[in-house]
Amino acid sequence: MSDRALRIGLPVLMLALVLLAWDVVVRAFAIPPYVLPGPGLVLNTLIADGGLLWQSLLVTLTTTFEGFLLAAVGGIGLAVLFSQSRLIEYSLYPYAVILQVTPVVAIAPLLLIYLPQPLAVLACAWIVAFFPVLANTTLGLQSVDHNLLALFDLYKASRWQLLWNLKLPSALPQMLAGLRIAGGLSLIGAVVAEIAAGSAGAGSGLAYRIAESGYRLNIPRMFAALLLLSLAGIAIFFALSTLSHMVLRRWHESAVKRER
């Protein structure tokens, strides 16, 4: 069997085995659905509650997407600003770190007090996602080939030409790695904020559905919503990996197929 077939086949086989074991255990011990629903029931719930869950998914994904976009623009923008001015970098970088190391779960309730709820959720998604973009892009902008810098210097490149023609393209691989991390993190940020907001009794995102279903002991719907969230996370990761691959495939070692 080829390596590729194994890479796809084995995880699928594992999934089938786990689902089978799950189903067998639920049936054999007659576990009631409000404790642990079987995989069939979860799937049925997903279809039966499809409309409601789909609406919620769209809400969460919109927040995630907006948070990601703001993180990308903010992270890259700030990194570029840092690369242009040491003073700005020294003034702001420590606070970017503080924002990152403070757990977002702890910030969310505060934000919910000061901001309207959708904005607070968005802010959480942004806070979690923006730092990896900033840190990676900064690293990329600082790792430019010294000889290429000298070359641009020799031909009297302007600051703008240097940034646009040399620094940004050479930072692209690190920038894309940062964005790939940020995609998953903005989903986490959105979910955390929705759960924090949900306990205050507002919201309609997927995470809120999970919290709400928990209060109502609607465990199958909790599982169904959780499944959708994971699928969304996987989709985001694949989308960003594909984007990264498309952009880098002609020139960067990480994306180039090696022949043996």
Binding site: D145, N147, L148, A150, L151, F152, D153, L154, Y155, K156, A157, Q161, N165, L166, P169, S170, L172, R250, W251, H252, E253, V256
Partner: protein, 253 residues
């Protein structure tokens, strides 16, 4: 001035001390005449690369002066590594200096095509650097240096990392280009054999601090080819230069 041609660039008593306290150059005097091929030869750490960067304006002398008798010239620089942008194809890399100078589009395209043809890379304009061999990358780098039609070509050990067969081939191609284009070349190397094969005269430098130890003329006629490389004359010049280099490294003056 002897030799007829006027100087294109002169270094006058140039000293360079780095922030770390290392004295790279101490009283370097150098006269490069228009159209000549001159090599700076010395062991690593003798400041020959520093001297080249000072000529290029990439480094500023601590004391002393760089003079351009006929006004400053357009410069092409070839680094030890090919120093190509990996995200851009060969044509875009060669075009970079023209792009930075906001050159006219059609003119730039012509200049790039011509530069690539000169180094034998006409068919590789759309290739990416990672798809090229070491020798081809270096050709692309030379094409880029030629794209702006510089009067002065500065080369910093450009072939040091290449295998011997490729190096000989590029040596021949470089000489052919030099004879066609009649530009001035300052070539930094630590290879006695390479410097003798290429140059009209060789400036042997002492290490730490770097200054001129000897200026040796290689009066063999051009075009030089493989016959010259295996001739008794060539061996003789190599011995002379080798001995001078040995004395320079013994810390003579």
């Amino acid at each position: 001035m002897p030799g007829g041609a006027s100087s294109i660039v002169c270094l006058r008593n140039v000293c360079k001390t780095f922030e770390s306290g290392t004295v790279a150059l101490d009283g370097l005097d150098l006269d490069v005449r228009a159209g000549e091929f001159v090599s700076l030869l010395g062991p690593s750490g003798c400041g020959k690369s520093t001297a080249l960067r000072i000529v290029a304006g990439l480094s500023v002398p601590s004391t002393g002066a760089v003079e351009w008798p006929d006004g400053s010239s357009k410069i092409g620089f070839v680094f030890q590594e090919p120093t190509l942008m990996p995200w851009a194809d060969v044509a875009a890399n060669v075009r970079l200096p023209l792009r930075l100078a906001h050159a006219d589009d059609a003119q730039a395209r012509d200049a790039v095509r011509q530069a690539l043809a000169r180094v034998g890379l006409a068919d590789f304009a759309q290739s990416y650097p990672r798809e090229l061999s070491g020798g081809m990358k270096m050709r692309a780098s030379i094409a880029r240096a030629l794209a702006t039609e510089p009067q002065l070509l500065l080369m910093d050990e450009p072939f040091a990392a290449l295998d011997e067969i490729t190096r000989f081939k590029l040596n021949n191609d470089l000489l052919r280009l030099w004879q066609e284009l009649r530009r001035t070349v300052i070539f930094v190397t630590h290879s006695v054999f390479e410097s003798v094969y290429l140059s009209q005269h060789i400036v042997v430098m002492t290490p730490r601090p770097g200054r001129v130890f000897a200026d040796i003329a290689i009066p063999a006629p051009y075009p030089r080819d493989e016959r010259f490389r295996t001739s008794a004359d060539y061996a003789g010049y190599c011995r002379t230069v080798s001995e001078a280099l040995g004395q320079a490294m013994a810390g003579a003056p």
